[in-house]
Structures are given as structure tokens and as C-alpha cells.
Amino acid sequence: MSLSGQAAVTGIGETDYRRDAGGRSVLRLQLEASLAAIADAGLAPREIDGIVLPMGTGGTVAEDFVTNLGIPDLRLSTTTPLGGAGAVAAVQCAVAAVAAGLCRHVLLPLGRTGRTGSRIGARIHQMPQFRTVGEFEAPVGALAPAQYYAPMARRHMELYGTTSRQLAEIAVTTRRHAILNGNASMTGPMTIEDHQASRLIADPLRLLDCSLESDGAAAVVVSAAEIARDAPRPRVLVTGVAEGHPDSPSAITQRPDLTRLGLAKAAPRAFAMAGVTPADIQVAEIYDCFTYIVLCQIEDLGFCAKGEGGAFVEGGALGLGGRLPVNTHGGLLSQSHMAGMNHVVELVRQLRGEAGAAQVEGASLGLVTGYGDLGDGTVAIMARG
């Protein structure tokens, strides 16, 4: 049985990303986004019968949602602890659950206090996914994701001539989209020169290559496709979905090809399931913890060959009206770091035609990716229908 077209994203919800949480708890933020998503789906909270929590480390559990939302009969509770690949992995899990008849309406809440809570360098070393690098790499001074990922970018540059200015194209375009969005943390314009003048964090990655630390929450509801015909908003079907894990998933250092992510394994499966090719995709929300990770995923998705990502992103190609509009909401780089659930929300918004000033004209087919921890990859292809 193919999962293609078996489920739809019927509800989307987000908190305000323009300011910090103001003392609101992670659970409170997640509940705010969940209520918005459930209402958007035209449902009552009691109709939710499945919960997938996309991060293993958010500190909330399905029981919190049962208790606060008054869910009388939860039939599925699970987690997808793949870091930034977790949001789309949760979509895959929810699609499988409704396709199998386990559930009718699955809630996927993600929220965090990354800005006012603990910082990433401290946070990751409490996560079991980082245990190996914590023992063998942290002692020599490799302590944070930027430092684990930077050697992938450096090797790509040395092999293919990729430049920091090409990475800047990604940051600048993403900022332009955030300004159009209206619910974004970063609202000032950015130029390539601004990017080039920003301080080095982990060479070749500069400050403006890095995503934000954010407070907020985003949530979606995934429903069985047949039931979704009755939902109030235009139906957005999940037509392809896949998860892929890189070689040497616990240590990038030991990976045979540093420039190949788990997404390279997932993408062909998702495209085959959906029966489409990269050339058919009209809008792409690509996980952007760092600019280089966007470039590498563009290659691993098959939009261009390995090594050609730098040339691909030049000249505003990722902007509205460009060859592949990417991160039309401003992404993790400039909207908010909701670990990719804001990317899922934005893809649905685009395919409904509700993306306002950032709407890709006539978009009816798009994709969203996740990238997590040390290279896990996920991708969902969605279509209005």
C-alpha cells in the first residue's frame, strides 16, 4: 500500500514569532499553536486521536496534551526524535497512522524557548544523538552544531569552488521573504555585503549563515484524506514522504562522503511515491539551520548535480519569481527556529494560496524537508487536491 494521497494536512497554527515568550512555558506555547491548528482544521480538540511529538527533547509529553485539550480517546502517542528532521518525520508517522486506520486526526505540536531558555551548545550535549561526538570531539574543542557542520561546507568549497558569497545569496533571499511574512523575528533588510561583514562563527560559516534561537510554537493537524474533504480549508494532500539516514549517523567525521546527507537516500523514494520529479516542484521549504545545509539539500534533492549548488542559488534563484522559490516564510534563518514545523506550515499555506505577499503564483505542488542532528533527512511532497 502506498501512502501517497492517503492523508492531508488539514490544520496549521503558529504563535507570534516577533518577540520572546514573555515567561510562557514551552507547553503553553505548544498549546496555543495546537488550538490554532485544530480550529483551522475545523475540528474540536476532543476529535484529536493521535499525537506525534517531533522532538525528543521538548520537555512535553502526549499526556500534557490529553490533559489540557481534554482528549477523551487518544489512540496513538509517539515521538520522532530526529532533531530538525523530526517535524517532517512526524508528518510521515502521522500519514502512516491515518492510512493504517489507527487514527483520524493526528496533532503534531512543536515549540521551544530557544531564545530565553538554554543555548544550543549546552542543549545538544544532553541529547543521546550527540553522545559519540560528546565523548570524542567535544574534548578537542568541537562543541556545537556549527563546528560539526562547517567541515562539510569547507570540503564542498574545496572540491567544487563553492563560495561564501553563494551562501550569502541564501541568507539574503531568506531575509527578504521574512520581511514579506509579517510574523518573523528578523525584519531588517540584509545585503550580501552585510553577510560578508558578519563575524566568523565556525569558518567558513559566518553569523549570518546561522539560524536563530527562538521562542514560539508551530503545530499542524494531519487527517485521513477522505475526512479532509469536509475540512474548511483547501485540501493539501501528502503525496510523497520519506526519511533517510546518512552513513555514520553518529559522527560526521567518520562519514565516507562529507557532502552527502541522509536526504540523498530519502529524496528518490519520496519523488517516486509522489510520481513527480524535482522539475515539477513549484515551491520548496528547505530546512535551513545553516545556509550551507540548504545548498547541500538542493543537490541531494536532485534539483542540480552534486557540486552545482553554488551556481544554482546565485542570482536570486531562490526568491519569488526565481527558478525555485525557497523558504518563502523566512525559514529558521530569519523567521523563527521552530525546528522545521514552521516550514511545514508555510508549505501548506502556499498550496492553499494563503501566503499573502510571499505567495508563489499558482503553487499547487511543493516540498518540505527536515535536516536533523548529524545528517538525518526527511522530505514530504504535498499537492493541493
Binding site: 565523548e135 570524542f136 578537542v140 563546528q147 574545496e158 569558518d203
Partner: protein, 138 residues
């Protein structure tokens, strides 16, 4: 608080203790499957080639070459602030595995993919022996 922050230290497991004890004794030791001979790194319980738990250890040759690198500029940990910027090299070992270590006696501008390196071992100022890398024949 006047106490200086301490660097992160390894918490050796049963599988990794010979690696850390080897460094303390001045040698970079690698796990070698006692059944099929495959060398693996980082240390772990099981040979992924033949699924034997039986493990021996061999000393690395000390040779390496540049796979990639980064230069740390941001103080993610207060104990490393005084060393910034430092260069972290990802190095290929002829034994078929890699390691990450700080570069000594040269800056990142001297690095090229494939450039030969020599592995050294150095105490980190807090009693922990760690590998370091130097360009070979420079």
C-alpha cells in the same frame, strides 16, 4: 565565581577506555576486530562488518591527511575562549578511519585537501591527553 571553567572531559565507557588510556600513555590506539581484522573508530561494542564483539587494539601509524577543517571563532564553551581562534582538522588515517584534532604550528591557510599530516599527542592543560595534528614535512 572566580573558579575557571573546566574543559569538557571524556567519560570513558568500557569500549572506549583503552583509547583514552592509550592517549595518556602517548599512543593513539584504534579498535581492531579480533574476528575479521576490520579497524573501526570511534570505539564501540560491535564490528559492523562481521558482528563480532571480540576486540583488540592496535597503535595507529601516526600518519594522516587532510579531509577537511574548520576554524573555531565563537566561544561555545568558556574554557576554550582563550584559545580562539583554533583550527580543527578532520583527518584521514591510512588505517581507514578519521579523527578530529586541533592543528598545531600552522594556520588554516596552509591546509589543502589531502595534505599529509602527522599525529601528535598533547596534554590539554587540565590533565587530559588529546591528539593534535601537524603538517608533515613542513
Amino acid at each position: 565565581m572566580t573558579e575557571m571553567p573546566r574543559k569538557p572531559l571524556p567519560e570513558p565507557s568500557g569500549e572506549s577506555r583503552p583509547y583514552w588510556e592509550g592517549l595518556a600513555a602517548g599512543r593513539l590506539m584504534l579498535q581492531r576486530c579480533a574476528a575479521c581484522g576490520r579497524i573501526r573508530h570511534y570505539p564501540r561494542p560491535l564490528c559492523d562488518a562481521c558482528h563480532s564483539f571480540e576486540t583488540g587494539w592496535v597503535a595507529a601509524s601516526g600518519e594522516a591527511s587532510v579531509q577537511s577543517w574548520t576554524v573555531a571563532h565563537h566561544p561555545y564553551h568558556p574554557a576554550f575562549r582563550g584559545e580562539l581562534p583554533y583550527t580543527l582538522v578532520t583527518a584521514d588515517l591510512p588505517e581507514g578511519v578519521r579523527l578530529v584534532a586541533q592543528l598545531r604550528d600552522a594556520g588554516p591557510e596552509a591546509l589543502r585537501l589531502g595534505a599529509p599530516l602527522r599525529i601528535g599527542i598533547e596534554e590539554n592543560g587540565e590533565g587530559q591527553a588529546l591528539p593534535v595534528l601537524r603538517l608533515a614535512g613542513g
